[in-house]
């Protein structure tokens, strides 16, 4: 735990595996850059591994001013305790005001351990971060420029904004895919700071016996256009219309949980609270009612078109364009219109 330190840096944990940077640090870069600028402090990344110096440059071009680089054979493969020890030592030394992790399996394994060891607060799975003031009525005190850690709770039925007032750093894990990836700018300059790795055999509590990685087959997160179908599509066969439209647009197909549960499309394609969070430039929701659990996975899309024959479906309340009608009639017209443009 450190005292509130308004001059402290903003940090992100740069998750990497086998020398590959995960998407989340790059997503964090763009958001955290904005936070650091607003606070007028540097943005730094903590990068841990073996032979990963190269990745520092990607982080710098992504927007960080500094990379704390911890390289050592002992931390080649991720393990909770040595990584937690390293981070806690760095936090004690440099006293950052904010530390952010991706809400990945690794981030959600590591961040709570670090927060517990530092005795500071941690908010899980944030979907947004902002800077703002907080009034503690009980203590009659106002805090300035705190990190608003914004997350859905209660199965997505409420949105809570959490702050850490006295015990810093302010720590959060951030949901994957909700923040845009930073666009690399190779002209950006940054500093790489090598840090000591004080980790020994006694810190390695687990022994890795075997591991298996699957390449991610479905890449909804990267799609610029998504055509998503719901229970209203009615069958796997009718889903073909969505594939046709997506092909014509050069986009991807996705589904609501009801569509997945009905077997219209495999689970990897599910968008929403228990699926993937997407933010394409265009999201076309076809026969989807727009339940809150679906909404949290797609409402950040640039433009949302809803096609539903029920004018009162909740999806229309956050769509930019609405077509009230039978999808079996509307989709062929859309496919024709898209194909006709060339």
């Amino acid at each position: 735990m450190i005292e509130p330190n308004p001059k402290g840096e903003v940090w992100i944990f740069a998750e990497q595996e086998s020398g590959q940077l995960h998407d989340t640090p790059l997503e964090l870069c763009s958001k955290a850059r904005g936070l650091a600028d607003e606070l007028g402090v540097p943005l730094a990344a903590v990068l841990v591994g073996k032979g990963v110096r190269e990745l520092s440059y990607r982080l710098i071009s992504g927007g960080v001013d500094k990379v704390y680089l911890a390289e050592h054979p002992m931390v080649d493969h991720y393990q909770t305790q040595p990584y937690a020890k390293l981070l806690c030592n760095l936090i004690e030394t440099h006293k950052p005001q904010i530390v952010l992790f991706g809400a990945t399996v690794m981030g959600r394994d590591l961040a709570p351990r670090v927060a517990s060891q530092c005795r500071c607060g941690l908010t899980a799975d944030c979907t947004d971060l902002q800077i703002g003031d907080h009034e503690d009525k009980r203590a009659g005190k106002t805090y300035h420029k705190l990190l608003y850690q914004i997350r859905p709770a209660f199965g997505g039925n409420i949105i809570a904004t959490i702050v850490n007032t006295e015990r810093w750093p302010q720590m959060a894990t951030v949901r994957e895919g909700v923040m845009p990836m930073s666009v690399p700018d190779s002209k950006r300059k940054g500093q790489i700071i090598d840090v000591d790795v004080n980790v020994g055999q006694q810190d390695l509590a687990l022994r890795l016996i075997e591991s298996h990685r699957e390449a991610k087959k479905v890449n909804l997160k990267g799609a610029r256009t998504i055509v998503a179908g719901g229970a209203g599509v009615g069958s796997r066969d009718s889903f073909q219309l969505l594939w046709d439209l997506a092909n014509a647009l050069g986009g991807a197909v996705a589904g609501s949980r009801a569509a997945v549960d009905s077997g219209f499309i495999p689970r990897e394609y599910q968008v929403g609270q228990t699926g993937t969070t997407v933010r394409p430039a265009l999201y076309i929701a076809v026969g989807i009612s727009g339940a809150v659990q679906h909404r949290v996975g797609m409402e950040e899309s640039g433009k949302i078109i809803a096609i539903n024959w029920d004018a009162n479906a909740p999806i229309f309340q956050y769509a930019h364009y609405g077509i009230v009608g039978d999808l079996n009639v509307v989709l062929p017209k859309m496919i024709a219109a898209v194909k006709a443009r060339v």
């Binding site: 394994d109 899980a124 075997e210 265009l282 809150v292 443009r341």
Partner: protein, 304 residues
């Protein structure tokens, strides 16, 4: 021989059942109207503990921090095969965030003596934080295995399990003691055993007994009620059916780290998701309008 297992379980509102009935007129969720259930992944944690006991011997103790109503999940645990249920209930726990909660739980676990394995569900469906497990492990100073989707082996003081990494899996092994967080894929929790249900359905905690007495003896004075509560409590204990109830005075703890004051995170604000009509651009389902829409999207570079 055998392993002493502790399962950390939580009673939660069933957020999966947000139906029309649980909605208020303003479109927000009425939490009180949701049924309270055994947090789903905690059932997987309990099942894993029972399997360890079946294979290697030992004990299964289920501990829950919450209101006396959480005794429901302690009884359910006994029906399914747990040996012991402990309700940790104390007003001073109120307002605890994950850090304070894990501190309280770790102090209570320490008080149990030698513990080899602590099992938790990966996360609870009301908060979805997945933080209490790892934080409890840290407070106990023991290692953690999170996201376990399969228990492979517990022998010679070591546990081997498969972790789900989202994009693959890994098999890891470590020496006990260990804290394990369990995912829903790990097993199929067994149902209640009829014989155990018959035996344990009468099990109650002192808080529940006191509440029942105050209902049964509305007219009586405090002394009479206290005497009756004592009588019933002793009778249940004699039959081995008293659920243990602990307060923060029952084990060593530093009060600076519990409850609202012990919690570094504060709620700044809570917004219910309300479906607000912001107004959308209506497009008629005709060839012309749809062509115009596509044209607009090309013009503003939404589609290329």
């Amino acid at each position: 021989m055998g392993y002493n297992c502790v399962v950390l379980a939580k009673q939660v509102p069933d957020t999966h059942k947000v139906t029309g009935k649980a909605m208020k007129d303003d479109g927000t969720v009425n939490r009180a109207a949701l049924p309270a259930v055994f947090n789903p992944e905690d059932l997987n944690a309990l099942e894993m503990a029972i399997q360890v006991k079946e294979r290697a011997g030992g004990t299964v103790t289920v501990m829950t921090m919450g209101l006396p109503t959480a005794c429901d999940i302690l009884r359910e645990s006994l029906y399914r095969g747990a040996d012991r249920g402990i309700l940790l209930t104390d007003r001073r726990c109120a307002g605890s965030d994950t850090l304070a909660t894990s501190y309280i739980l770790s102090c209570a676990i320490r008080h149990l003596g030698k513990v080899d394995l602590v099992f938790c569900g990966r996360q609870a469906i009301d908060g979805d934080t997945a933080q209490v497990g790892p934080q409890t492990a840290e407070k106990l100073g023991i290692p953690q295995m999170t996201y376990v989707e399969k228990l492979l082996d517990v022998t010679n003081g070591h546990i081997r399990a498969r972790r789900n990494l989202g994009h693959g899996w890994e098999v890891v092994e470590g020496a006990l003691p260990m804290l394990v967080t369990v995912t829903e894929a790990a097993n199929d929790p067994r149902p209640s055993a009829a014989r155990r249900l018959m035996r344990y359905k009468a099990a109650q905690s002192p808080a529940e007994i006191a509440r029942q007495v105050s209902i049964d003896m509305k007219q009586a004075d405090d002394a009479a009620r206290a005497a009756e509560t004592k009588k019933r409590t002793e009778a249940l204990a004699a039959r081995g059916l008293l659920l243990e109830q602990w307060s923060l005075d029952d084990f060593p703890i530093d009060f600076a780290w519990v409850g609202l004051d012990g919690s570094p995170t504060k709620v700044h604000r809570v917004q219910s998701i309300v479906l607000t009509g912001s107004g959308y651009h209506e497009v008629a389902p005709t060839d012309d309008s749809i062509r115009t829409l596509i044209h607009e999207l090309i013009e503003d570079h939404t589609i290329g």
